[in-house]
């Protein structure tokens, strides 16, 4: 190849690499932007008077007098709404049969929506479910409900050759001429007074228990569960991993058995995580009976197996990278091999080992499949430490999936779901950042 061609080739290669990096960064941005913007919505939002009432009643938080005063103001603002409803109900009986039937259905919808928006209507008995005892705690959700009160969704099937089309019909028009007509402009204009939206920073989202399967409250059970599972996995995997790595890099003579062992470890690293989950169920729960059914212990053990190959390989690489000269110096001073490992080899390999550990920590925190069968449940209380031996726990990765697919009211708790995603992503990012910093720090210290 002549010089000209080689230069061209070089340059095009550089161009392609730069493109690849840019694409990757863009993809990351596309992924992270919604996670951050929507996830932050779980922490920062416009909270309504219902939110503050809930905080006071359920978490005993906030100023009781202020909430009472706000309650009075809110009730005052809501009174005309209920008055109009009552008046319309009387009027309804006098309408002609067709219109009555149609408006009665709509009225039912409206009362239901009002209940969701503002909480129980006056004179109603306390509902069993917590979600029925409070109105909308978030202003953005309140606006959604408002829109559904103002407009009814109807399907337009006029063109038989097409799929039905959804059209929004203003209810004000449907109720024109009745005593309820005024309700809609009143709601539109005064919803703010009825709910008193105020900017809220709900950092306790992280540390609050969840109420009524995530309709209210925070994600502490999931956060704690993830912490338990991750720490448990690390506690089990780190000692075994490092000891195995020391054995492989220092003491194992290069026999056939050792090569086989290495192949096994590499293979283990490539096994799909769902298989680890099944194995965990079959082995830790059904065979060893670590716990009678799912438990944090069984989940941690399964996750530990999953990350063990990573820890072993990272540690082995790090140990092998330690210059022979250090080992020889220690041995020549009369250190026993074990002493040499503990005092010279491990400290010198520490940055590499730590990196492996923290990266696998991020992996353990985010894995879903291994804990489905062994540890995770959708709803649960925060566990006490000793309960981790026998009890299952909610965990972030599993509940993100669960909230998105199996919750009764996915739309109502989107913000919780995104809050969980953000928390998990931040957790993993922080762990990786910590890995980088620790590594830099230690290697700097060693370089002098």
């Amino acid at each position: 190849m002549d010089l000209q061609a080689r230069k061209l080739f070089d340059r095009s290669l550089t161009g392609v690499s730069i493109m690849a990096v840019i694409l990757m960064v863009l993809a990351l941005l596309v992924l992270l932007t919604p996670i951050f913007s929507r996830g932050l919505g779980a922490f920062f939002f416009s909270g309504t008077s219902e939110f503050r009432r809930l905080s006071l009643e359920q978490f005993n938080r906030g100023n009781a007098q202020a909430v009472a005063a706000e309650s009075r103001a809110v009730t005052e603002a809501r009174r005309p709404v209920f008055a109009m409803l009552a008046a319309f109900e009387e009027e309804l009986d006098g309408l002609d049969a067709n219109r009555r039937r149609e408006l009665r259905t709509q009225l039912k919808e409206i009362t239901g929506l009002l209940r969701e928006l503002l909480g129980p209507l006056p004179g109603e008995l306390d509902a069993v479910m917590l979600r029925q005892q409070y109105g909308q705690t978030r202003w953005d959700r309140a606006m959604v409900k408002l829109r559904r009160i103002l407009f009814s969704e109807q399907w337009d099937h006029s063109d038989p050759n097409r799929m039905g089309k959804k059209v929004l019909v203003s209810r004000r028009q449907s109720f024109a001429g009745t005593r309820l007509e005024a309700l809609f402009p009143y709601l539109e204009k005064n919803l703010g007074r009825m709910l008193q939206p105020r900017f809220t920073f709900y950092w306790r989202f992280l540390t609050d228990k969840s109420l009524d399967s995530h309709f209210f409250g925070g994600i502490w059970p999931e956060v704690l569960g993830t912490i338990y599972l991750t720490l448990g996995a690390m506690l089990l995997a780190i000692p075994f991993g490092i000891i195995a790595a020391i054995y492989l890099s220092e003491f194992a003579a290069g026999g056939r058995l050792v090569s086989l062992l290495r192949v096994c470890i590499s293979t283990l690293a490539g096994v799909p995580s769902i298989v680890f989950g099944l194995f965990g169920l079959a082995f830790f729960i059904n065979t060893l009976r670590l716990s009678s059914s799912k438990s944090v212990l069984a989940g941690s053990a399964t996750l530990a197996l999953l990350i063990l190959p990573t820890i072993i390989r990272a540690s082995e690489e790090a140990l092998k990278a330690v210059p022979r000269a250090y080992k020889e110096a220690a041995l020549s001073l009369g250190a026993s091999p074990l002493r040499m490992v503990l005092t010279v080899l491990l400290p010198a390999a520490l940055p590499g080992i730590l990196t492996g550990i923290i990266i696998s920590m991020g992996r353990a925190a985010g894995e879903t499949a291994p804990i489905i069968f062994t540890a995770a449940v959708s709803v649960g209380q925060p566990l006490k430490l000793w309960e981790t031996l026998s009890q299952p726990t909610p965990a972030l990765p599993w509940n993100i999936y669960n909230l998105a697919t199996e919750h009764q009211a996915v739309d109502e708790i989107r913000h919780v779901q995104f809050g969980m995603v953000l928390t998990l992503v931040l957790l993993v990012l922080l762990l990786n950042l910590a890995a980088i910093l620790i590594r830099a720090r230690i290697s700097k210290k060693m370089r002098g």
């Binding site: 110096a329 020549s332 009369g334 005092t343 010279v344 002098g448």
Partner: protein, 271 residues
């Protein structure tokens, strides 16, 4: 409290030959094999006490192998074995009852490339002592000071003992390694080309140091540098392809070698 190193009187008149003196380390028909490769061949040789003995010879002739056999640093190489005897103070180094840890504490080693631990200067020196004794801070500091003074490094580092040893210059690092070896109070110091990675000034400094340590320690030094062997050693052993060709007082070897091959090597005709 730190004694300057007394100029020890030579224990033997310079004319006497190696055989007359008590041997600190003695090889008797000693061989070392890397698998099938016999790197040291039936060497019989006495390293006299408290003298400096140089081992010279062309590259690959087995100098390092012989040296590292003395403190059994080659033990861990798979497939290696020895035959014949190697005695240290009359005790068999490859005997079944020997404790390698004690052996290495009594026989220190300095390597070709300075290899301080990536720890502070203080911890480098203290490392060996801590392995063998439980010392309080005062005793430890005394050891550190004594060793650094013996290695001629104290004045340069006394204000920066907490600094990382890797921040020292190459020559300083090598003297630190010598100090580290001295700190466990060995009787023998093995040096494998200790100056080959250093510049001439640092080399001169190490050579002076060897002269100062002479008489207090039995020193066995491997070197490629004829002038260095002539300058620092009392006795010289010439190895060639694993065989000991000639051994005797340095002064005599360098003026009247009895073997043709020794002369050829020394005059640079091969090697």
């Amino acid at each position: 409290m730190i004694q300057s190193i007394p100029a020890t009187p030579r224990t033997v008149p310079p004319e006497a030959d190696a055989g007359d003196r008590q041997a600190h380390v003695a090889c008797q028909d000693f061989s070392f094999y890397y698998g099938d490769n016999q790197a040291v061949k039936n060497v019989t040789l006495d390293f006299p006490s408290y003298q400096v003995t140089a081992i010279i010879g062309p590259s690959g002739c087995g100098k390092s192998t012989l040296l590292r056999s003395i403190n059994r640093m080659n033990d861990l190489i798979p497939g290696s074995r020895t035959s014949g005897k190697m005695l240290f103070d009359g005790q068999e180094i490859y005997g079944p009852r020997l404790d390698v840890v004690t052996l290495r504490r009594r026989i220190g080693m300095v390597f070709q490339k300075p290899n301080p631990f990536p720890k502070s200067i203080l911890n480098n020196i203290a490392y060996g002592r801590r392995l063998h004794d439980r010392l309080d801070k005062g005793e430890l500091m005394a050891t550190v000071e004594t060793s650094l003074k013996r290695a001629g490094l104290w004045d340069e580092v006394k204000d920066r003992l907490e600094d990382n040893a890797l921040s020292l210059s190459g020559g300083q690092q090598q003297r630190l390694c010598i100090a580290r070896a001295l700190a466990v109070d060995p009787e023998i110091l093995l040096m494998d080309e200790p100056t080959s990675a250093l510049d001439p000034r640092a080399t001169a400094r190490i050579e002076d140091l060897i002269a100062e340590l002479r008489g207090r320690y039995t020193i066995i030094i491997v070197t490629h540098n004829m002038q260095q062997a002539a300058r620092v050693s009392d006795f010289t052993a010439f190895l060639y392809e694993g065989n000991l060709i000639e051994y005797g007082q340095t002064a005599r070897m360098f003026t009247k070698p009895s073997e043709k091959r020794t002369e050829d090597y020394m005059t640079g005709r091969f090697g």
